[in-house]
Symmetry: C2
Subunit: 560 residues, 2 copies
């Protein structure tokens, strides 16, 4: 395995200059054993080179919603671009499968993904159930080996991107959304992926330093409760000097300046009546933090009591900073009634602005961050609040409301023969055949329907009426005259074909595209309560073929 | 960063010969930015060397239960043993915190964890709310930098170990439990951690090859639905020969042998009436798999129809293998009514044993694996089933029923001054002081209560009565005469102290210890419905001190 470079990804890279997977633990052995036992059985039967087509798709959008955002594509491409089973890997596999013949292990050492083709919907697109996110073609034994890593790279990525997008929709465009989940994520890589895909889904920044570095995501953070309670009082602050913002003069005793301001606030008839003595340890902590970061002072104000201690202490420090030409950023609330506290804090800030004539003080930033999720933000919106930024952790990164997305990887064709996976549960029946997928847009610019057709069918054309059928319900069908036709599956890994490989866009491009796509959707598909399902359809030809194949494969029951 | 070796962990290792974290992405930058901004503020205030004590604990056991299993300790120790901020890291941090002074970055380059002490409950122990799982002592700036990585390493590890233990309790000791979750886990490392900690919590094996290799966990796997549907018919099998198990003779046409057996089953008056023609593609897939793995033939029987196709096809292949001296392993059910299908399959196996005199055929293994969790296994138990092994994925690895454990990391003492974190929610008030923690056992051998005392208090003694108080509820207290006293916090990282460092046991030792511990608990604490809370207490001295400090720190309200 290659040495890991400073930014955590591997040096050298593999095929076609695509870098290795971000997490060095993502190797061909990160898979289910049955992929290797099947590979052996295929090899033993001489079937391992049979050309297979698999679809990767999900059956239901998460979180009770009707949309999903596709994430994880770049990591899949990195994985196959660098797919190689090492001699060490082979030694281990021999120990696990001791009865397998030597020839098989020689075959395993020889494989890569140069004869695999991958077609996919671009990362960051809004996607829907049953439509393949990816279509993977190649020798059946090799493509099977990709199943588990691909699912492992796509399932959580798409889930958390979708979760982030849902949080953005409920919070509104104007709010700052910060991802704070590393400590509660499902393991270190869960945390890193969460930061990456939350940003992709529309968050503004993360607290996670490693993720910020790996992906170029803005990083945010100030201080914790422990910082506040680690101080006993102002006497602990030894170096009390603070140069002014313009560097022209210096305050020799910033601590006294803060204390003077606190007294002025306390003595003010309009302000001082709301609180008595504030916490000394908190005041010392805020003063210390301001001395360290006079340009970016943001204080966590709920260690003792928000309105009786935290906010007045913050204001004293912010006013002292203002004297020295610095503009404080604001406060963070991490407990209590966030709607009420944000409104009261805002009033206090406005009163300070009025009382002391500090222009803009009323607009000071208020960040909230206590176990927030879609529901609590919705409730805050309904109550009315003055929060400017939300810091969201546990519920975002663990996707607490639904911890897994059920992407599957199904064989749809082998040696040009279409295959179907039957199930007593009709939602689990797979859609056979190598397919093309299109998104059809209507007059208003909204996407109207996604349609799947056989590979060789002519595609839908702008302005031409076509019939879209529900794949399994014969009574559900609709005529559509598309105003725009978008082919969804693009070639991201051409294998031995002559096709052009799509470039992998930067995370920032994917994020912008994702935000644009979400804005383009018809709002009733996106709403939190009772969203309208987006239509996913098949062409009449494909419909007929599915049902022919189904009847052909399903055993006929006998009632006894 | 060191080069990564074949088994995924890093070469060389650090301090005291402890290897690096399993995941190379676990570095000092895998933390929240505020740990670095606080470190700067401490440094700027000259407080960075203040000796701090932090407790890592959780407030409530997950999954509606009253117990938790502690996991993740070894990774924490690996992390601190190798803690070093590299020059590359420093360059990145400078870019993120451009206003910080050079001296701070020089300080950051110089730090390691040689003056940090870590005390912890052994990994795999049953643990309870509020009792510190770990106590971390050291310079406040350094210990703060450990907060996020430690929480990230402990939270999910403990959650999934607990989830696995709960699945073991409901499945019973005699069942085989297989972890199949890699594809649905929250990212690749989520999958690897899930496999490791599920095994620790009492699972028998995993499907995850990489985890099996990294941790020496038994690996299992056979084939998927795609393998079955990739075959069209028996004519695809070109090499039909199978040597007998003892190597003394050879079957030239194993395919015909299988077909003969299928006809015999179909023609049997007691068996054949339950099914008509079976799926040819399925029979070809089973036969092929048996030719590849005659010693470990286990077939997935629900691709077409379990009772009308899968089970008869399996039996035909198993009986043909039996003729050649091989013993088939059994079947896997992945859909439908698992209770009913397992009972019917068992009947069919017994009928085969009776009809053809194949001793032991009735005892063939039945594995079930469709979206299983505690509830569905409980329901299967109540309905009656014939399943021998459960393959559990999504619900186990994502901890679907509760996707996060809320471990926190709280300052309890700085420079010998006890600190308390107040909250309007009494369950969030922290227990101050550097503490010792004991588990007291009763006459029946069960643990009775955990008790926390101040560091300098004499510990509880066997046979001596002592008063255990609820930390926050003054009316809850009980006298206990312990028959055994176990000190819970052991020294895993002695720092500069002269203490002996506890060895890190192997995963197999931890797993055995975990199983023993679970068996030693009083059953009513462990039951699924309405479990009795286990008692967690403080000494009378600590109780008094907590309440003194609380009154001292909390501001007095004013009703207006």
């Amino acid at each position: 395995m290659a040495a890991v470079t400073a930014n955590g990804s591997a040096r050298g890279g593999g095929s076609d200059g695509v870098p290795r997977p971000t997490n060095p633990m993502v190797t061909p052995l990160l898979t289910d054993l049955y992929q290797f036992t099947m590979a052996y059985a295929y090899w033993k039967a001489g079937k391992h080179l049979d050309r297979a087509v698999f679809d990767l798709y999900f059956r239901k959008s998460p979180f009770g919603g009707e949309f999903t955002i596709f994430g994880g594509l770049e990591e899949c491409i990195r994985f196959i671009a660098n797919f190689k089973i090492t001699e060490d890997d082979i030694r281990f596999l021999r120990s696990v499968m001791p009865t397998c013949e030597d020839g098989f292990f020689e075959y395993l050492s020889s494989i890569d993904c140069s004869d695999v083709e991958v077609y996919a919907i671009p990362e960051g697109y809004v996607v829907f159930p049953k439509v393949p996110l990816m279509r993977i073609e190649g020798p059946v034994a090799v493509v099977q080996l990709l199943e588990t890593p691909f699912l492992s790279l796509v399932n959580y990525a798409s889930l958390v991107t979708t979760n982030a997008a849902r949080h953005r929709l409920i919070a509104g465009k104007s709010k700052n959304l910060l991802e704070f989940g590393l400590r509660r994520a499902q393991g270190p890589d869960g945390g890193i992926s969460a930061s990456r895909y939350s940003y992709m889904g529309g968050f503004d920044a993360t607290s996670n330093v490693a993720a910020g570095r790996l992906f170029g995501i803005p990083i945010r953070g100030t201080h914790s409760h422990a910082f506040v309670s680690s101080f006993m009082g102002l006497e602990e602050i030894l170096d009390k000097t603070l140069p002014s913002s313009d560097g022209l003069n210096k305050c020799e005793d910033f601590v006294s300046l803060v204390q003077n301001w606190l007294t002025r606030i306390q003595d003010s008839s309009s302000l001082g009546s709301t609180f008595g003595e504030t916490s000394h340890s908190e005041l010392a902590a805020f003063t210390s933090y301001a001395l360290a970061f006079p340009n970016s002072f943001l204080a966590l104000v709920d260690t003792y009591d928000v309105m009786r201690s935290g906010v007045p202490n913050f204001c004293a420090v912010a006013l002292a900073l203002n004297d020295m030409g610095y503009k404080a950023v604001g406060i963070r609330l991490d407990s209590g009634d966030l709607a009420y506290l944000s409104v009261e804090t805002r009033k206090f800030f406005h009163a300070i602005e009025g009382e002391f004539g500090v222009v803009g003080f009323g607009k000071m930033n208020i960040t909230a961050s206590n176990d927030l999720n879609e529901e609590t933000i919705d409730a805050l919106n309904k109550q009315g609040h003055e929060v400017d930024a939300f810091g969201i952790g546990t519920y975002l990164v663990t996707c607490y409301a639904q911890a897994a997305l059920g992407c599957v990887f199904k064989l749809v064709e082998i040696n040009k023969q279409p295959r179907i996976k039957l199930s007593e549960d009709v939602t689990k029946v797979s859609i056979p055949c190598k397919k093309k997928c299109y998104r059809l847009y209507g007059k208003e610019g909204y996407p109207l329907v996604d349609i799947m057709t056989g590979e060789d069918e002519p595609g839908p054309k702008v302005g031409e009426r076509l019939l879209c059928r529900h794949p399994f319900n014969e009574s559900k069908r609709a005529y559509v005259v598309p105003q725009q036709v978008e082919e969804l599956l693009r070639c991201y890994w051409p294998g031995n074909s002559a096709k052009q490989r799509e470039e992998l866009p930067s995370i920032h491009e994917i994020r912008s595209q994702c935000i644009r796509h979400l804005e383009r959707m018809r709002p009733d598909h996106m709403r939190r309560l009772n969203p309208t399902p987006y239509k996913v359809s098949v062409s009449p030809e494909l419909y007929d073929f599915i049902h022919f194949l189904w009847l052909n494969e399903a055993p006929v029951g006998e009632l006894q």
